[in-house]
Symmetry: C2
Subunit: 190 residues, 2 copies
DNA sequence: GTCTATACTTGGATAGAC
DNA sequence: GTCTATCCAAGTATAGAC
């Protein structure tokens, strides 16, 4: 195979457009144009917009978890790894390619389309809870902490930070939200 | 005037639909049907979808700030009021009628449509920062806290909580996220 | 103010030729 | 595998009658 094949071009274009415009805002025609593919080509590889979206969402989901793992599996204490994850370089104004899908009525109404979104955020929370548990075990964090709740808080700060940044058309509120939760977390570390 | 006039019916219907389906997902026809109004009626009162949305967003924005004020201006210490605000009854699975608009490409691309969204979340943060400042002044919270950052965190937890809940199709992750940040905040109170 | 008719574009997909 | 032609509904709006 030489170069990228059409099928993958279509999937990648769909990922981009879903990120930028969501499911209801993305038309087959737009996907084709972005991918440089014709109608026939798209409908040869996929049954339609929905199937294409399904594949696109699954890939974005896998990528998001892998990216998180890169920070969380890294070196350092539990809190250092959480900090690295929260502070990692992000395209804040673009928002989260997975989280943004939760605002799409046709995604949440379709169990198959919602499933990868749900799994991704659920696993992310579970993984963060693990890291927080390590912090507890190491005495970095107080034994009484509800790590599952705290993991949800951490993910929510990211997802909500994107919302604030997009509203303001500026990344600062995102950074503030992250700073705020880190300040709370690290003064618990002793 | 007897009963609700058509103009207001149209605005309220638009508010509902924007909340549920966003701007790109809401058609003039859907608005008319939801409002029980005809085409001519809608285009008599408004120049089109955009103007209607503008009015709808402004009203939802005002309402959101007023609702927040109800908790934040209430009785109790700063932390008690923040807690009341975070724990207030919410239709979690519907998400935030203002925050959800930040995921709409046509809203954020249009300065006039984005403005009320931006103002609402910015004011909300400012108001929360005030309350947190009161908590600092009262010795409830450590003097070193960055209240602007913390206010962003609080709003982000709400906005992100909605995202997690909608992904899971269940309110629990929202409640966890709130619990987590409250646990951090209240153990700082001394 | 509201209704119906009309218009043009886009969305989403199928059919059949190459 | 890809292209072009075709199809029908929906989106978004204007025109003019009542």
């Amino acid at each position: 195979m030489l170069g990228v094949d059409t099928r993958n071009q279509l999937i990648d274009s769909t990922r981009e457009l879903l990120w930028e415009r969501g499911y209801v805002g993305t038309s087959p025609k737009a996907i084709q144009q972005h991918a440089g593919a014709g109608q026939g080509s798209m409908y040869h590889h996929f049954s339609g917009k929905r199937e294409l979206a399904l594949e696109a969402v699954r890939r974005s989901a896998d990528e998001l978890l892998a990216a998180a793992e890169a920070q969380l599996r890294g070196p350092g204490t539990a809190l250092e790894r959480i900090t690295a994850y929260l502070r990692r370089e992000r395209e804040v104004l673009r928002g989260c390619p997975i989280g943004r899908l939760t605002q799409d009525p046709e995604i949440v109404a379709d169990p198959e389309l919602r499933a990868p979104v749900d799994e991704t955020l659920t696993r992310l929370r579970a993984r963060l809870a693990e890291v927080l548990d390590e912090g507890k075990a190491a005495g970095e964090l107080p034994a009484g902490l509800d790590t599952a709740a705290l993991a949800a808080t951490v993910v929510a700060v990211l997802q909500g930070g994107y919302v604030l940044a997009r509203a303001a058309d500026a990344p600062e509120p995102f950074d503030q939200a992250v700073s705020g939760v880190l300040a709370l977390l690290t003064t618990h570390a002793r």
